[in-house]
Symmetry: C2
Subunit: 331 residues, 2 copies
């Protein structure tokens, strides 16, 4: 089958992902094999492309956000049949879904409702599960006492779905940051009660709206750099949920307010061999919300055909850091 | 009046805290003036002594854990009268309680039940409020989904009270680390279900007890150094509550499990001018628990008389890092 693959980590200017012939995926007992219909492309994948090389002689197939049709079902699978349309994430320690077919643990997928296109379905999994897990730490609800949430980067994939989840599933006041008029309008469409320019002085903008403190900040990018203004904006025992942390962070400013820092890495269960079924359940909820019109899919750029050209265009868009919503490639 | 004071930060070997004559405390409107009956001495105060000097010409009076008798009440105070026995914390930006009298915000104290001595009362405030706030982030309960908690440093002031709060106010399984036989026995007395040696391989000791993961670690000391074994011991979306963080921490190992890091600094509200009334309510609960026999005061070393000698002895004990329970000085 065909797949998009590369050998060595590389920058955008030397884009080297190519459509090549690879072996068919070999499913594990708990896997589905899915004929890929659409893939979402994520900032995290552009980072892997820039930093991770294959072992000598090998190749890397990225892509952990997909919608497609089940073509085979492993013996340990229940709840899915050949022909089912599914959406899901994946496992970054295995070959990804930038391919004609992919083997994927059935516990990290859910069925796509009939009314939802595969392209729209593919806009939900990574941003939706990440936002859900970052905000609703246990039991599908915000931490106790959280009534006002600031989403930093409200127009991105995680931010767009976080804003919608907050607006539709909680009673919290939702504030987004976004820098351009079109991204600010987008945040309002997603359900933000207030949108402020994150190119300017966010705490000053909030103060002029009568807001001195927030209970929670969901930070989708630039967390370490923004900590100097995020920390004092949080109330004592406030919450910082961040999806872009991966190394040292100076907790000093946060300790002064006894803040909780919620780290979030969407593949945390599947890469450790833990049961990732909770993610399948989250995806089921997201899909049901989308089918019921409570959650708007966030595909803003649809590219056609899984090719080096379409993938390069997707990476260019994502690395511009000006993407609104989601870039989806229909295969 | 007399107070224990020093001018320049100094190590234990050059101990320079002296009993000197200082002006009477000047209460603010919301303050009580308390005649100090007993003070708890804390590891945090030994750190301040080592690192913080007075402004030129000034002096530092430490001490933010006390029990005593109200001798004056400010005009904005309600709920307290002259003659009340109280226990409380304090405000590290003001003069502390290592003195005959101290001015203290009434919102960070509570009344001492008749059956509790001032020496026992003084063993509760800092460790009790710190443990409470670190464990029960909102609403006096553990985060949702936390059924198994490991207390690293179970025999110290925070650890002893955390263990008791967990044992008496939650249904969680409580595991403590302690290195010596006497500190291990102490943890059992505090209510630990299991005690393991933190000088040895803690994860291996837990595995041999059939425990692969815990939901929460409360770390009272050495958090950064212990992170390499703490992180993999936590389940996905587990909780690390730490009371000794003050600077950079490598969140990398925690992100891999999407862990929440709960920072805790007991003075977070009062030093920022936020309403610290929640702490008065916690102290009230702790005092009521102690009066009802549900919470055992943790005074293990009682020193007599507020003097340079007794304070030096307290600091020596604390800096040995082998203290069990609490060192209290009766004035």
């Amino acid at each position: 089958m065909k797949a998009l693959a590369y050998q060595r980590a590389h920058p955008l200017e030397a884009f080297a992902i190519e459509l090549v012939e690879v072996a068919e995926p070999v499913p594990r007992d708990a896997d589905l094999v899915v004929e890929v219909g659409a893939v979402g492309v994520n900032p995290g994948e552009t980072r892997v492309r820039r930093t991770r090389s294959a072992d000598p002689g090998g190749r890397v197939v990225l892509g952990w956000e997909l919608a497609g049709v089940v073509v085979a079902v492993g013996p340990a699978v229940s709840g899915f049949s050949v022909g089912d349309r599914v959406l899901g994430t994946g496992d970054p320690t295995r070959d990804g879904c930038w391919a004609e077919r992919v083997a994927i643990d059935h516990r990290v997928v859910a069925r796509v409702p009939d009314t939802l296109s595969l392209v729209d379905a593919a806009s939900l999994p990574i941003g939706g599960v990440t936002a859900w897990e970052a905000l609703f730490r246990e039991g599908g609800a915000l931490p106790a006492g959280v009534d006002r949430v600031l989403v930093v980067g409200g127009a991105g994939g995680v931010g767009s779905l976080a804003t919608q989840l907050l607006a539709t599933r909680t009673s919290a006041t939702v504030i987004c940051t976004a820098s351009r008029p079109e991204s600010q309008r987008w945040c309002t469409t997603m359900g933000a009660d207030l949108v402020v320019d994150h190119g300017a002085d966010v705490p000053a903008a909030l103060r002029s709206a009568g807001i001195e403190h927030v209970d929670m900040v969901l930070s989708t990018a630039g967390t370490a750099a923004n900590l100097a203004w995020i920390a004092p904006l949080l109330r004592p025992h406030g919450h910082l949920a961040a999806v872009d942390l991966d190394g040292p962070l100076d907790l000093g400013p946060l300790v002064l307010r006894s803040v909780s820092v919620h780290t979030e890495m969407v593949f945390n269960a599947v890469v450790h061999g833990e049961d990732p079924s909770a993610q399948g359940r989250i995806l089921h909820e997201l899909a049901a919300d989308a089918a019921a019109g409570r959650l708007r899919p966030i595909t803003t750029t649809r590219l056609q055909g899984l090719s080096a050209q379409s993938m390069r265009a997707a990476h260019q868009l994502l690395e511009s850091r000006r993407t609104i919503g989601k870039v989806v490639i229909a295969t």
